[in-house]
Amino acid sequence: MEQIIQIENLEKSYGTIHAVQNISLSINKGEMFGLVGPDGAGKTTTIRILCGLLLKDSGDVKVVDKDISKYRKEIQKSIGYLSQKFSLYGDLTVDENMEFFAEIHNVKDYKERRDELLEFTRLKSFRSRLADKLSGGMKQKLALACSLIHKPQIIFLDEPTTGVDPVSRRDFWKILSGLLKEGMTIFMSTPYLDEAERCNRVALMNAGKIIALDTPQKIKEHMDNFVVEIVCTPVRKAYELIKGITELEVQMFGDRVNVIVKNYEKEIPVVKKLLEKNSVEILDNRIITPSLENVFMHLIKEAS
């Protein structure tokens, strides 16, 4: 498959903070790639380096077959970038914002493209509204539309749906699938694992390192431990007991805990006994297929 981004041994530090530590990965043309990880993992730093917003300390980065250190401005002609924060001109209208970004990208006949994008993002009826007067979700869609006006080959999205309402989020994802069908490469970072599940491939970042890189399916299969879901009450007490007394890894989700075990027959009875002895009522327990979240939490734990 044709690669559109190649990253080799990328490093970036801010003073003593090692934000990105020796990461290597390549992105295929036309795929949706997700960079997942907790806050401070180095996702934004990585995206900013790829867009030419930050200078790397060392390593090689090639975007659309060009070296980012040498051809930054060239590369920026064929990429789009959507930052975490809304960053358009609030005092310009929807149309004016798009016009401005078209013009500075030197797009000559942008009118048709603009209409198409407004149609696509369902912003057409708001075209003469000031950007500041749009709702959060609409703002994000407008920002996306602006970053697509010059028909980029790759679009970088930095946590695009953070702080966006569920309806707009669904809309947003529909737009992204549309783009993918057109052959665009999408590189996004997200803290949401349900969004990560939808990517063709994901990389899990933690503390500046990539600790897993594959399709969501493969990553889940890669887990060689069992995940046992125990629905119980009080759940916090159960969590603290298992965490404090056994050596097992335990994750808490609402009304249940997930315990990661190597040997189901041997270890689960011990856990059950412990809980019953401490008057925690067990309502249900079963082995489940690990979710991406289980795996990531497990990997992060192992890494640290």
């Binding site: 401005k73 930052s83 001109y89 609030g90 005092d91 004016e96 013009e103 500075i104 990208h105």
Partner: protein, 375 residues
């Protein structure tokens, strides 16, 4: 270059939507002109005078009449005690108090020197010394007159020659503070639009995150700098036209010298003020910070040290040296030279050259820093 034009178009679209900014750009110059034209008045043509005349003779009344006829003094009160006089001076009811001794006329007619006490409220040193100067003038004229009269009475022909000054006041014949102050408002207004507003506008893009969005586009830093600065140059010159129209048509102060040289040196001047604005934007994170730095770091020193508010010749030597680093100093000299004296390039080329050198240096370094910050 086309990208720069698109950028400028966007800036003006934004100006249109920002009424506060328009108010600042249009009302500030008008207000400044009115304040400096009317309120900042150092002229003294009405000195309040109190007289404690203990003599009440013809000669003492003649003496007092000299004051009122001079046109500079108004007698607010004739008092009957020394205490009353000191109280009134303390209460700022009068600037000058004159105490005429009891034997004023007698002493003079007996060819003796009479001592008149003059009390001056010196709390405003400038005003006090001017008033004192006038008082001395009136008094010495009067005493000269007495000598001549007495000589004439005694039949002595004064053969000694004397000097009478024939004064011609140039450039500002009415000696009005206004004529001196109003032209310099141009320097202030250009400073406001090109330093304060520019730094605010750039920092605003930083705050909003649009600057980051711009960096990811093919637009080059120099295009961004030009696109951001040119609108404020246009705005600056528009307000300059406004201020100068007020100056010419309202205050009746014509531009005597070459308008072309005036505009040309204004352009040289804004190279440094724009550069400063750009520099401030690179060191400020928020608009508030940029505002503070612009006002305290750029505008205040410029106003105080450029000769705009206080004459440089009166400053201590060390501070005088510092003023050489203030671009506005040269521009103020040019403005006053061109507008009031009608002199031009032949006499002011040094100042123009200094503005050019400072402007290019500041703007170049700031652009470099701005560019570096972007990367």
């Amino acid at each position: 270059m086309k990208i720069v034009i698109h950028f400028i178009k966007k800036e003006f679209q934004q100006f249109k939507r920002d009424p506060k900014m328009f108010a600042m750009v249009l009302i500030a110059p008008i207000l400044q002109s009115i304040i400096l034209g009317y309120a900042a008045n150092l002229d003294i043509n009405n000195i309040n005078l109190i007289v404690f005349n203990q003599d009440q003779s013809r000669l003492s009344r003649d003496y007092i009449d000299k004051f009122t006829h001079s046109g500079y003094f108004t007698i607010t009160k004739d008092v009957n005690s020394y205490d009353e006089m000191t109280k009134d001076i303390a209460a700022s009811k009068a600037l000058i108090g004159i105490v005429i001794p009891r034997d004023f006329e007698k002493d003079i007619s007996n060819n003796r020197t009479s001592h008149v006490q003059i009390l001056v409220d010196g709390s405003d040193g400038n005003k006090g010394s001017i008033a004192f100067g006038y008082t001395q003038g009136v008094t010495s004229n009067f005493s000269q007159q007495i000598i001549l009269e007495s000589a004439a009475r005694r039949g002595i022909k004064t053969s000694a020659g004397s000097i009478t000054p024939e004064v011609r006041i140039w450039y500002n014949p009415e000696l009005k503070t206004r004529n001196f102050m109003v032209p310099s408002i141009t320097a202030l207004i250009l400073l406001l639009t090109t330093t304060l507003l520019t730094s605010l506008a750039v920092v605003k893009e930083k705050e909003l995150g649009t600057l980051e969005q711009l960096i990811v586009t093919p637009i080059k830093p120099w295009q961004m700098v030009l696109g951001k600065l040119i609108p404020f140059v246009i705005l600056g010159f528009a307000t300059m036209a406004l201020v100068n129209s007020i100056m010419i048509f309202w205050f009746g102060i014509p531009i005597r010298g070459s308008i072309i040289f005036y505009l040309f040196s204004s352009f040289l001047y804004i190279l440094s003020t724009l550069g400063l604005g750009l520099f401030i934007s690179t060191i400020s994170k928020t608009q508030q910070q940029a505002m503070m730095v612009s006002i305290f770091g750029a505008m205040m020193p410029m106003i105080y040290l450029s000769g705009f508010a206080f004459p440089i010749e009166n400053m201590p030597k060390i501070i005088q040296y510092i003023t050489y680093a203030i671009p506005m100093r040269y521009f103020i000299t040019i403005i006053r030279g061109v507008i009031l004296k009608g002199i031009g390039f032949a006499d002011l080329w040094r100042e123009a050259l200094m503005l050019f050198i400072m402007g290019i240096t500041i703007l170049f370094l700031s652009s470099l820093r701005f560019k570096k910050r972007l990367e």
